[in-house]
């Protein structure tokens, strides 16, 4: 997306309620710039900020509608609908396997080393699946980078980065899944 405010709005859509830093990381910009864009979006009624222990920035219903329009327009402008659809089909094949792995990890139904190795193998296939999107829609390259970051932390021994934290491989995968659904205008089943 060309405009930072549109990228920020869309990132908030995929991440869910979040603080400024999380959105800045998701967009690949500075917290100051993301914060400024979020305040502008709030003035337009597209996002709100809630205080309190479970607060943060949230997208509003008009914000979702605006994001739907912006994402669809971008996809048509780039002529990238087929490309994203193909990648999404590849993603959907990987998704149950990723959920198997997260569950095996959390329920300790297989050896930890094997599970980490299987995550690594799956990530390689995910990277192949997302590869064609990188030059067209850079945010998918950022998804890949975020996943890779979580995986490398897990491989270095911080195994909570697989599925046990809110910035885990699974959480980032969940966001990527949401991005595909929103981008293609599909409901979650």
């Amino acid at each position: 997306m060309v405009r930072t405010s549109e990228s920020v709005l869309h990132a908030l859509r995929c991440v869910g309620a979040a603080g400024t830093d999380t959105i800045a990381e998701a967009v690949g910009t500075s917290p100051a710039e993301a914060g400024s864009a979020l305040i502008d979006l709030a003035v337009d009624g597209l996002v709100t900020f809630e205080r309190g222990p479970f607060g943060g920035w949230r997208i509003t219903a008009p914000g979702q509608a605006a994001d739907d329009r912006a994402v669809a327009r971008e996809l048509d402008t780039l002529g990238a609908r087929d490309l994203v659809t193909t990648a999404y089909q590849g993603f959907l094949e990987l998704n149950p396997e990723l959920l198997d792995l997260c569950t095996a990890w959390q329920l300790r139904t297989a050896e930890p080393d094997r599970i980490v190795a299987a995550f690594t193998d799956l990530h390689g296939r995910c990277a192949v699946c997302l590869g064609p999107l990188a030059p067209v829609l850079p945010r998918f390259e950022r998804h890949r980078g975020g996943l890779e970051h979580a995986l490398s932390r897990a491989r270095a021994g911080e195994t909570g980065y697989l599925a046990d934290r809110l910035d885990s491989y699974h959480t980032r995968w969940f966001r990527l899944h949401e991005d595909f659904l929103v981008t293609l205008g599909r409901p979650r089943h």
Binding site: G16, A17, F54, P96, A118, D164, R188, H189
Partner: protein, 413 residues
């Protein structure tokens, strides 16, 4: 025949697969199994070694199809995988296949599903050798969606969550079996079959009692009723929650299926302490699958924002059709979560476990009112009306009874 065996002939599970083995047992017990045959794991190993179906297969297949009673090779068949070790939901099934060429294609498709990446990963994690292979079961198609007197379902010989000695399951009227197994259809409690089709219900109960006595364990079957006539498509031992184990063991002993000594041996009496559970007798609102253990009570919130708002005034249970990242702050604010779709490997289940919150997924009834007080049991999948205290598994009367049998030498009955 080199590659094909009649279903009724049975055989070692390593050769015919667990599904065909189970079906041959059903047939020998005199229970209704659609006529069919099985392509052995030898075939699959040959195909994996050579990269193609053997030349002798089409001839054998045509003969076997022609031999199906009343079908003469022309009626539709179901082509299902049948691995030695269960690989739930990973291998392909092709239904309603007509004509020998199409059946051959379906067989190749089922065999190829063995080497799908997800299945390979599953085997690597769980020490299943890649060359074990799957058998393929071909049976005359029975249609649970044929007419008003048709249905499909899954039935347990005892309640798989509480262990109570009553059949439990789900049935989808006028629906194909896939609607029940995949959880995509609208299912009803199994007991509704009693009023809709008393004859099939009685026959099903008798079949459950028979397979339970044969296997000397709780069992569950997949069934289809075609125009009023009951057919069994699969039988498996167990498949119940750990929470049911003690009561099932006691029940099997009381019914004379197990000795008390055997019943004691079925349950880990010194097992690790597990999560709190709902006691018996709570008013059950709905049941799903327990996906993250523990007990949580609070007011039902139907959106993430409401969960955050209500959480300022007391504990909240987030109740959602499914979850997306937009629900995460609601889940963080809530004491537990209920979803109507998805299974124990859904995003919601993974996130709930990460947050250490009880979760019930795939709950069947969707009429939880906003603000109503509910209690959820993330071990058993029960959602109860009202606020309830838990029992520790040590308080389980069945477990106490087993301990008494074990401790006081009462096991020798």
């Amino acid at each position: 025949m080199r590659w094909i065996r009649p279903l009724a002939a049975g055989g070692h599970p390593a050769v015919v697969g667990a599904k065909a083995h189970g079906l041959s047992v059903l047939a020998r017990l005199g229970l209704p199994v659609p006529p069919g045959f099985v392509l052995t794991t030898d075939l699959h190993r040959a195909v994996r070694a050579t990269g193609r179906l053997p030349r002798s297969l089409p001839g054998e297949l045509a003969t076997a199809l022609d031999a199906l009673p009343g079908r003469a090779g022309t009626g539709p068949v179901a082509v299902r995988s049948g691995a030695v070790v269960s690989m739930p939901g990973m291998l392909a099934t092709v239904l309603d296949v007509r004509g020998a060429d199409a059946v051959l294609g379906a067989i190749a498709h089922v065999l190829a599903s063995w080497d799908a990446p997800r299945a390979r990963t599953y085997r690597r994690l769980h020490d299943v050798p890649d060359d074990a292979g799957t058998a393929v079961v071909v049976q005359a198609m029975v249609a649970g969606d044929r007419d008003e007197r048709s249905a499909s379902g899954v039935a347990f010989s005892r309640d798989p969550v509480t262990g109570a000695p009553v059949p439990y399951g789900e049935v989808a009227f006028r629906a194909p079996g896939v609607a029940v197994v995949s959880g995509t259809g609208t299912t009803r409690p199994l007991t509704e079959l009693a009023t809709r089709n008393a004859a099939a219900w009685a026959e099903l109960l008798a079949a459950l009692r028979l397979v339970e006595r044969h296997h000397r364990d709780v069992c569950h079957v997949e069934f289809t009723i075609e125009s009023g006539r009951l057919w069994l498509l699969q039988v498996r031992r167990g498949g119940v929650a750990a929470s049911a184990a003690a009561r099932i063991a006691v029940g099997l002993a009381e019914d004379g299926i197990l000795s008390r000594t055997e019943a004691v041996g079925r349950v880990d009496l010194a097992g690790p302490a597990v999560a709190l559970r709902l006691g018996a007798g709570v008013p059950v609102l709905t049941r799903g699958t327990g996906a993250a253990p523990g007990l949580a009570a609070g007011r039902a919130a139907l959106t993430a924002d409401d969960a955050v708002r209500l959480a300022g005034h007391g504990p909240v249970i987030l109740v959602r059709p499914t979850t997306s990242p937009a629900d995460l702050h609601g889940l963080a604010a809530a004491s537990g979560v209920v979803t109507f779709r998805g299974g124990p490997t859904s995003h919601a289940a993974v996130v709930a476990r990460a947050m250490g919150k009880p979760a019930v997924v795939g709950a069947t009834e969707t009429t939880v009112r906003e603000g109503a007080e509910i209690t959820i049991d993330g071990t058993t999948g029960i959602v109860a009306a009202g606020v309830h205290c838990g029992v520790t598994p040590g308080d389980d009367p069945a477990l106490k009874l087993l301990r008494q049998w074990s401790t006081y030498g009462l096991a020798e009955n």
